[in-house]
Symmetry: C2
Subunit: 102 residues, 2 copies
């Protein structure tokens, strides 16, 4: 029996996969994530550590939050971001390892 072999990811799914990878496709976001996979941190601390403005961090966090890659916890005036999905942590670290190993 002939067997339909067209294993191309459909446009819609592919767009979402691309969207996920795009979240980690910027140097600043990678640095932010490299901190957050170790534990939560607030916006101004992230800005200081990564070396960009708090506004820029805030913009990045919005995108990451919309994709549910990070979640936020408000404590007083500060907002702490963290990564709680283990799959996301693993995905990110796998990308980092691929670069650092060689």
């Amino acid at each position: 029996m002939p067997h339909k072999n067209k294993p191309v990811l459909d446009e819609h799914s592919a767009a979402h996969v691309a969207e996920l990878f795009r979240a980690f496709s910027d140097t600043s976001r990678v640095r932010i994530m490299s901190v957050l996979v170790k534990g939560e941190m607030n916006v101004s601390a992230l800005a200081a550590v990564v070396g960009i403005s708090e506004s820029a961090v805030s913009h990045h966090m919005r995108g990451l939050r919309q994709l549910r890659l990070v979640s936020a916890r408000k404590e007083g005036k500060e907002v702490y971001y963290r990564v709680d999905d283990p799959h996301i942590i693993e995905l990110f670290l796998q990308g980092v390892e691929h670069i650092l190993i060689e």
Copy 2:
């Protein structure tokens, strides 16, 4: 003993990690990869399957090749591309799974 705790990925490494993820941050490249992780395919077949021009495919493959995410095999006039690094295949599929599961 105080312990230096500044686990931010350095700018240079972060840029390379971002570059890696950026390779999968486009819908067309995701669809191309979704085929290549199953086996090799030449340019015109990829163009037909993904639904973009052969020129566009060629441009994409250049970028993927430069990052050593795919390798090329020439057979007559045709060029067959494939993914031979298992870590890359795993990284890509992990991204796909994250989207398809939920």
